[in-house]
């Protein structure tokens, strides 16, 4: 990828690392978030949504 120059090659590597790093963080923090209770309970949300 560096045949197209350093900016291109470095960007490809940055993009791959960013995406992988983000998914690692998101999956870890997602597990923690699932344990936290939601803002509205189902009844409140259904009432406001008219359903």
């Amino acid at each position: 990828v560096f045949e197209l120059g350093v900016p291109f090659g470095a960007f490809v590597i940055y993009a791959v690392v960013w995406v992988i790093g983000y998914f690692v963080w998101a999956s870890r923090s997602g597990r923690r978030a699932e344990e936290a209770p939601g803002v509205h309970d189902r009844g409140q949300r259904a009432e406001r949504d008219g359903g």
């Binding site: 120059g5 291109f8 983000y22 803002v39």
Partner: protein, 484 residues
């Protein structure tokens, strides 16, 4: 050139047919206003991520950005990390609470967080004006593309673009918008994955590098330096982090975890598109070094270097980028009008509001056609500045409001007005230091927010409890032991 090509005409017709089928299917799933505005909060992470990415990418990403890479080389790709930092701010400080809040519109968040119908109406009005006018730019892009490809009059191109988009938004609402975005994202990725190997059959990466380097050594080097890249990062990152047409997507997803994963999938799509447009821009420069203007690079590549079916897919991806942006903006501005402005004054049933919103999509979709044809100077001004003005208006209101309990309604109103005014003033001052107006806009809105909030009363615990878990716990404890 494509006017007589049956493959391309067939691809365009098939594309529009898929949009119509998706909209009819979505319309059949839509049971009421909430379904219409939030897709029944049923969107998963992959479709949601595609929706976030496709809404962000407009005709400019394909036509303009390939053109910039053609002209300046690869270093322009470094604007994307700035954009991704904006998405990261959204993922960290905005998305989880927004998704959990479960509202319907962005102004509704303002109303519920600050207990202020006034602040909510100001927000709705800005969205309505800025986005309705901004649509003219997308219509102009659609008109130009159909004019270039089929030799159709400009107005016909505009009418085809908005006709199909208005139809699927009216029928299918946010669900149709999300699934057509997903379809558009598949086309975007598919066309690049098909186009790049074909380009590599013509030229190896080494040849592309050598040819472009011989034309101008800066094409394979740092044409844009650190200062430029930081400028891009601030402008794009601040603009996207709280863009209302993206925030509205967060309401469509099932929960905070789905939203976080969706932002990850949007990164995957954006990364593929970013790498592809940089590669194709430089490849086109190597193959056709002396084009009259860089804006024709994507069209020349599609027509002269790729087989009709792949070239056609690239150009359909451009049309898809326009329809996905237009549909997202139509949904947000129509909801701002009927749900937040009219609905705040007149009591309407759920069914009446649903049909009023559909009617608003039609009206707000048609107004920009006249604006585009009249060529008002004000329209060009709003089109140019809308991202900076909207970000200067919303960034502090959303990010501070979701993360600082001391934020007050008067603080929010002050930050909106000061941020908007500062961005406007910075623009008219000729953008000193080459700094985008969004930077002073957001900076001053933060200061105004903090100062005014320190002097005014915070909203009630009921309002704070919608966004702060610790406030919810206090309320529950108080309810459990009323005698204390």
């Amino acid at each position: 050139v494509f006017a007589d090509n049956p493959v391309f005409i067939g691809l365009v017709l098939a594309y529009f047919a898929v949009l119509i089928v998706l909209s009819i299917w979505s319309g059949m799933q839509t049971k009421g206003l909430s379904d219409y505005l939030t897709a029944g909060r049923s969107i998963g992470s992959v479709v949601g991520g595609a929706s976030l990415a496709a809404t962000q990418m407009s005709a400019g990403t394909f036509v303009g950005t390939i053109g910039v890479h053609y002209l300046t080389g690869a270093s322009f790709a470094w604007l994307w990390p700035g954009l991704w930092l904006g998405w990261l701010v959204q993922a960290l400080f905005v998305a989880p609470k927004f998704a959990t809040f479960g509202g319907r519109t962005v102004p509704e968040y303002v109303r519920m967080r600050y207990n202020s119908p006034t602040a909510s109406r100001i927000a709705a009005l800005l969205i309505l004006v800025a986005y309705t006018v901004y649509l003219t730019a997308q219509y102009q892009a659609g008109g130009n593309i159909f004019q270039t490809l089929f030799g159709l009059p400009f107005l016909y191109g505009v009418l085809i673009t908005i006709g199909v988009t208005i139809l699927f938004v009216i029928v299918g609402g946010m669900r149709a918008t999300a699934y057509t975005d997903f379809f558009d994202a598949l086309i975007m990725i598919g066309c690049f994955l098909a186009a790049i190997p074909i380009v590599l059959l013509h030229l190896s990466p080494e040849q592309i590098g050598n040819i472009t380097r011989s034309l101008d050594p800066s094409l394979t080097g740092w044409y844009y330096g650190v200062k430029d890249i930081i400028g891009f990062a601030l402008a794009f990152g601040l603009s996207i982090a709280t863009a209302p047409y993206e925030l509205a997507r967060l309401y469509t997803m099932r929960n905070a975890r789905v939203v976080r994963m969706a932002i990850g999938w949007s990164f995957v799509i954006q990364a593929i598109v970013a790498i592809s447009v940089a590669f194709l821009g430089m490849s086109t420069r190597a193959m056709f070094p002396y084009l009259p203007t860089p804006d024709v690079a994507s069209t020349v590549l599609s027509i002269d270097a790729l087989p009709p079916i792949v070239g056609g897919l690239v150009l359909i991806a451009v049309i898809g980028a326009i329809t996905s942006t237009v549909s997202g903006i139509m949904m947000v501005s129509a909801a701002a009008l009927t749900y937040d402005l009219v609905g705040g004054v007149f009591r309407m049933s759920d069914r009446a509001q649903l049909w009023a919103t559909r009617f608003a999509v039609l009206v707000l979709g048609v107004i920009p056609v006249f604006l585009a044809l009249q060529q008002f100077e004000l329209v060009q001004f709003v089109v140019l500045l809308q991202a900076s003005l909207v970000a200067s208006f919303f960034f502090a209101t959303v990010v501070i409001g979701l993360n600082w309990k001391g934020a007050t309604a008067y603080g929010a109103i002050a930050s909106m007005i000061v941020g908007f005014g500062a961005a406007l003033g910075w623009y008219f001052a000729g953008e000193p230091f080459g700094l985008d107006p969004v930077v002073p806009g957001v900076a001053t809105s933060f200061v105004a927010f903090w100062l005014v909030s320190r002097l005014t009363a915070v909203p009630s615990r009921e309002n704070l409890a919608l966004f702060f878990p610790e406030e919810r716990r206090v309320m529950r404890q108080a309810q459990a032991s009323p005698e204390t």
